[in-house]
């Protein structure tokens, strides 16, 4: 059993459902400014999410892992809320589709033309990489 004083609440909400609610002693995720890890009593912070893996650590229990793409996080001393546009559990990910998406995005970046939306292709590539990474 984890030390009561270190536990805080986690909520991950997507447009289609309440993806996850639970408690944790630490949460790690990827923001636009880099990866961060949050413990209880963090200063209040609102930050923009980047595609990446969310890892929720809870002492004595297995880590909860999910893929989250774009959205933002609201961090309060007692609670962390992730508002994600897309969130997936590892077993929901279609690895073949992610591989295909990765190949497509790489090809688009390799053969750049005027019409290529580089930002979009890079975003797609990052999403695909996160999916492949977590589905392993």
């Amino acid at each position: 059993m984890a030390d009561e004083g270190r536990i805080f609440q986690i909520k991950i909400i997507t447009p289609d459902r309440v993806f996850h609610t639970g408690s944790a002693t630490m949460i790690e995720f990827n923001t636009a400014a880099g990866e961060i890890g949050v413990y209880k009593n963090h200063i209040p912070l609102t930050t923009v999410l980047a595609p990446g893996i969310v890892t929720i650590h809870n002492d004595g229990e297995e880590d909860v892992v999910a893929a989250v793409h774009s959205g933002f996080a609201e961090i309060l001393p007692e609670q962390v809320t992730l508002l994600a546009e897309i969130a997936e559990w590892p077993d929901e990910i279609d690895k073949d589709r992610a591989e295909a998406a990765k190949a497509r995005a790489e090809e688009r970046l390799a053969n750049k033309t005027e019409a290529t939306d580089v930002k979009r292709a890079e975003f797609a590539l990052r999403k695909a990489l996160v999916r492949i990474d977590i589905a392993k």
């Binding site: 209040p44 912070l45 923009v48 959205g71």
Partner: protein
């Protein structure tokens, strides 16, 4: 008085119409259940989004941001969400009425972004400009659809083609009550009360990278979530409205059938009486 055959034919036609309305009612009841669940699942995301945006704005009231000030153009964009199919009572016409009767809207400075062919056709007839038609997304709204729509509208807003953005849809209160609603999306306007309450209750929040960039990123998401919420609610309302319309159509048919049955029996009795009188009269003439 109508003949027995006429009444019988009419009764038959009403009966088969009733079968259709009954089937349609069952179909929309099932669809309503699904749509209602979906609308309920979307709610937490939207509520949280609203809270976050209000509390952000409460503290950043002085920021000069394109999304927060009025655009230069006098054009108003109205996103109108209706359905692709009729037979839903006043569902579509109520939304259309909301747009046509709003005092601020004049046919020449309103641009319609239509979702749902019923609303699009009605507004087109009344002389409004249809700028975009995305009717197919109402069939099964996905978050990506709302995202694409939001991008189009925001691009027009940022590039100065339109100065204000409105959203007209049917708010799903509960299974039996749906309310046509018109809300202003941009420039963002919030209740003064809500803002002051948010300002009081919130802890001092920090933003990363900084407030303006966070706002830049969160407002489009906020608008998208509004679009998505409106789409999902509109689908629920459509099916609710159709269910009610078909329910009353079925019971009206029931009433007409019982009325016609009465008339048919009367006509039958009348014809038997007449036949009898003729036979008796004939027999007495012979004897």
């Amino acid at each position: 008085m109508a003949s027995m055959r006429d009444i019988k034919r009419r009764k038959g036609s009403i009966q088969s119409t009733q079968q259709i309305t009954k089937a349609m009612k069952l179909v929309s009841t099932v669809k309503l259940q699904k749509a209602k669940n979906r609308a309920e699942q979307t709610n937490p995301y939207f509520n949280y989004m609203y809270q976050t945006v209000t509390s952000m704005l409460a503290k950043s009231g002085t920021i000069d941001h394109p999304y927060l000030r009025k655009g230069d153009s006098t054009k108003k964009a109205v996103v109108v969400i209706t359905s692709n199919r009729g037979l839903a009572g006043g569902y579509n016409s109520n939304v259309v009425k909301l747009v046509t009767e709003c005092a601020d809207f004049h046919t020449d400075d309103v641009e319609i972004y239509a979702i749902g062919t019923k609303g699009k056709d009605a507004l087109e007839r009344k002389g409004y400009t249809i700028r975009e038609d995305a009717s197919e997304i109402i069939e099964s709204p996905a978050y990506e659809d709302a995202l694409a729509l939001c991008k189009k509208v925001l691009d027009d807003y940022v590039s100065g083609k339109i100065g204000e953005i409105y959203l007209a849809y049917t708010h799903f209160k509960n299974t039996v009550s749906h309310e046509p609603t018109l809300i202003k999306l941009l420039p963002v306007e919030f209740d003064e009360e809500e803002i002051s309450r948010a300002a009081e209750s919130e802890v001092l929040m920090n933003y990363e990278p900084n407030e303006e960039e966070a706002l830049d990123m969160i407002i489009p998401k906020y608008i998208t979530s509004l679009f998505y919420g409106a789409l999902v609610e509109a689908v629920a309302s459509e099916n609710g409205a159709r269910m009610q319309a078909m329910d009353s159509a079925t019971s009206n048919a029931e009433e007409m059938i019982s009325d016609l049955t009465l008339k048919f029996n009367r006509a039958r009795q009348g014809s038997i009486t007449q036949e009898l009188t003729e036979i008796i009269a004939g027999a007495s003439a012979i004897s």
